[in-house]
């Protein structure tokens, strides 16, 4: 970037009426980072990055913080923090105050922490001597502070799988406050989670479009008991995280491929997977060896994060288009999600990538045995005509049962998260048990995690984060929002046909047009 261009872009940020003070400052920092040279890359990897076949999701040129950080809040509670001059909390007020302070110090790409903790497990030890009314009051203020101080849809808290007083109270508070932040995941374990808690959660989905539901036994199998779901459905280790999330546009790899499907799987796909891994490797090395993040950050110094629990996320998106294009070239006009042959090819592709990732070591990725985490990336606002992760394109989703059967075989491969969204019409609110049945059935079919979206609700699920419909309207009017994710949501609605998602009913009346 020339000095002239830098000045111009800096000035654009400084005078942008659509940005709050914090947003301007954050954008200025991102701009400054662009002045630093990108970590050294081979020619081919650099070209693929420039062509946006590989996308680093605007993490910046010079990684000086890991992308996703999951501080071990439980450990922090036990030992306090020397850097922050905090003693271990002894009661609920102290614990909530401790967390509020610590949240302000967790690095990330957006500037806001992506993980607020498994709050029910964390806080339960502190509520033995407190009245329900007091507990409710304190939690509600805490929850409100999280939304106002961390106005970013990627900020994420976890609940479950146990049915706790705090878990239920937070769900109730969610329904009352109707906030975008925090994003929320309920860990579900069929042998632990009660139907009553599930019902509370489903009622909360009806009100605010969250929580997201995660298959606890499957997650524990891949990541161990101490994991959490953060940001846009990224499942990672507590006390660890992910250095980077770099994603490969599978559609573009097919566009650049010449030859048949067999050659794609043997040659082109592995080539681009390797280039993506090279970008990741360069970024990881810069973070660890140049920026020396894990030596300097107090979270690492105090053992609240440990390099050994980190890995890096290899993301894919545009699987649907990749499959459809490959088959189209062979004269087969069939679609992923609607056709068994297309579905089978999609499984072959994700199998092949998983196999390459398992064979290729990456530095500083001991958190996953020295290998990258596989992740189905749920898209960004700028994606046009390319579908998030391994999802079925909006409007092409088959019936719910076929939908789940088509996508479920992918889920076990993506340790670091995959998301599918199921859409329902309003009347289902009269029958929450129906949603509970779908949740249980989907997990029995091997789904790792998923989210529900209710047609015409105030809360709209974009990629993984939520925006409020009323905020989108306000943003369209005066181009300004307290939540930085509203801006992304507004772009996504324009670029991706979010509102074209297939709605699911119910009694499917025949429509013979009798006259």
């Amino acid at each position: 970037m020339s000095l002239k261009e830098f000045r111009y872009r800096a000035e654009q940020i400084v005078v942008d009426p659509g940005l709050t003070y914090q947003q301007r400052r954050h954008n200025m920092a991102l701009l400054a980072e662009e002045l630093i040279e990108y970590p050294p890359l081979g020619e081919e990897a650099k070209q693929a990055l420039d062509d946006r076949i590989i996308c680093d999701l605007f993490e910046g040129h010079a990684p000086y913080r890991a992308r996703y950080i999951l501080p071990d809040y439980e450990k922090a509670f036990q030992q306090g923090s020397e850097f922050l001059e905090l003693e271990p909390p002894t009661n609920l007020a102290e614990a909530l105050n401790f967390l509020t302070i610590l949240y302000s110090q967790v690095p990330s790409i957006t500037g806001f922490p992506v993980y607020l903790g498994d709050v029910d497990r964390l806080l339960t030890p502190y509520i033995t001597e407190i009245s329900d009314q007091d507990l409710y009051q304190q939690l509600k203020l805490f929850w409100r502070a999280a939304d106002r101080m961390l106005p970013d849809g990627f900020v994420h808290a976890n609940l479950g799988p146990e049915d706790t007083k705090i878990g239920r109270m937070i769900l109730r508070i969610e329904r009352e406050l109707k906030q975008v932040v925090p994003n929320l995941t309920l860990k579900y374990d069929p042998t632990v989670t009660t139907d009553e808690l599930l019902l509370e959660a489903v009622q909360t989905v009806f009100a605010v479009g969250k929580p997201h539901f995660a298959n606890h036994p499957m997650m524990v199998g891949d990541l161990g008991e101490r994991y959490a779901v953060v940001s846009c459905y990224n499942s990672l280790k507590i006390g660890g995280g992910s250095h980077t999330l770099t994603r490969l546009n599978l559609k573009d790899t097919v566009v650049r491929h010449s030859g048949d499907t067999g050659e794609y799987l043997q040659r082109t796909l592995p080539h681009y997977v390797e280039l993506t891994l090279q970008v990741m490797e360069a970024r990881i090395k810069y973070l660890v060896e140049e920026a020396r993040f894990f030596e300097h950050d107090f979270l690492a110094q105090e053992g609240l994060i440990e390099l050994e629990k980190f890995s890096a996320m290899f993301g894919i998106f545009g699987l649907a288009e990749a499959v459809n294009l490959l088959l189209e070239r062979e004269g087969r006009r069939v679609k992923y999600g609607q056709n068994e042959e297309a579905n089978q090819l999609s499984y072959q592709i994700t199998d092949r990538i998983a196999q390459i990732l398992a064979e290729r070591s990456l530095p500083y990725c001991q958190g996953n045995g020295g290998r990258a985490f596989f992740h189905s990336q749920s898209g960004i606002d700028l994606d046009i005509e390319v579908t998030a992760g391994t999802r079925i394109p909006y409007g092409e989703e088959p019936d719910l049962y076929e939908h789940i059967s088509a996508v479920a075989p992918h889920h076990c491969k993506f340790q670091a998260g995959i998301s599918d969204i199921f859409h329902f019409e309003r009347p289902v609110v009269n029958n929450p048990q129906a949603i509970i049945d779908v949740i249980k059935g989907a997990f029995r079919q091997g789904m790792r995690e998923f989210t529900f979206n209710l047609a015409d609700g105030e809360f709209v699920r974009i990629t993984g984060y939520l925006v409020r419909r009323s905020d989108l309207v306000k943003y369209e009017e005066n181009k300004r929002s307290r939540y930085d994710s509203t801006v992304l949501g507004s772009n996504a609605v324009k670029n991706q046909g979010i509102f074209q998602r297939k709605r699911r009913v119910i009694n499917n009346e025949q429509n013979p047009g009798v006259s």
Binding site: N431, A434, K440, Q510, N511, V514
Partner: protein, 287 residues
């Protein structure tokens, strides 16, 4: 092996409006009422093999084979879902309905069972094929994988009590439609009196099998304050505290005879809901 057959209009794997939880719904062909407001009129009749649909079908997906009795061959893979066959059918039947054996129905249910609270048999009028319904429910209760599923029926309530008695041992719940309490209104909507229906409601309630009473609301027919008042009063005598589903009449799918019927507005529906609520029907929903 169970070879008992039912004439099935279609099967919907997931429904959230046909009883508690997520349910697979089997719609049986044929009904003994002929409601002017019917929104699925092509479940009413049973095919008389006149063959008009075979002439109209643009892809020749329907064929009729003569024999004793004759039978329809419908090729799903050719069907465009244009519904022309339904438009020309003079008896409000559906050539795509087909005879299905219990074993086949059970297989379909097994495939989706992970996602279900239960199954609901609807129509048409399911009790016209009560043998099939009973055999199906027995098969579900006897199947290790399916026995946790609840068995429900969605009915117009016209079956006589002895038929209900035969179904009770394998029936978990019933949703009964009541088009109007007032006999005159009922007759003008359905062509029948409602005596048997009210008996059914009362009987199923006593037996602990009445899950829901469904009341269709059509302005000028059954929505006057006086009628609603009487309905609340009557139902609180024969089935107090039962779940009530208020269904606003919708024009979607109905025949031209019903063009004059009005759709109720939300305000009216809410007013009626409050009335039921105050009459002791705490679980009253509008769909």
């Amino acid at each position: 092996m169970n070879k008992t057959q039912g004439l099935v209009n279609r099967i919907i794997p997931f429904s959230s409006v046909d009883g508690p939880g997520n349910r697979l719904v089997i719609f049986l062909q044929g009904c003994n009422m002929n409601c002017i407001n019917c929104h699925n009129p092509h479940t009413i009749g049973v095919c008389n093999f006149c063959g008009l649909c075979t002439l109209k079908c643009p892809t020749k997906a329907i064929e009729i084979y003569s024999g004793e009795p004759p039978w329809i061959n419908f090729d799903q893979s050719l069907c465009l879902n244009c519904d022309l066959c339904l438009q020309v059918c003079p008896v409000y039947s559906n050539p795509r309905s087909r005879w299905m054996e219990i074993d086949e129905a059970v297989k379909i249910i097994q495939q989706k069972a992970d996602f279900l609270s239960g199954i609901t048999v609807s129509g048409g009028e399911a009790t016209l094929q009560i043998e099939f319904v009973r055999e199906l429910f027995v098969a579900i209760k006897d199947d290790a994988q399916l026995s946790r599923l609840t068995t429900f029926i969605d009915t117009n309530g016209t079956a006589p009590i002895y038929k209900w008695e035969s179904l009770l041992p394998v029936l978990d719940g019933a949703m009964v439609d009541l088009k109007a309490l007032d006999v005159g209104a009922h007759q003008s909507l359905t062509g029948r009196v409602n005596e048997l229906i009210l008996e059914t409601i009362s009987f199923l309630h006593q037996e602990g099998k009445l899950y829901e009473v469904r009341l269709l609301i059509i302005p000028d027919y059954n929505s006057s304050e006086e009628q609603i008042e009487q309905t609340v009063e009557y139902l609180s005598q024969i089935c107090p505290q039962t779940r009530i589903r208020l269904i606003p009449y919708r024009q979607h799918g109905v025949r031209s005879e019903a063009d004059h019927l009005q759709q109720p507005d939300e305000e009216l529906m809410e007013r009626i809901k409050v009335r039921f609520f105050n009459g002791g029907f705490g679980d009253t929903v509008i769909t």
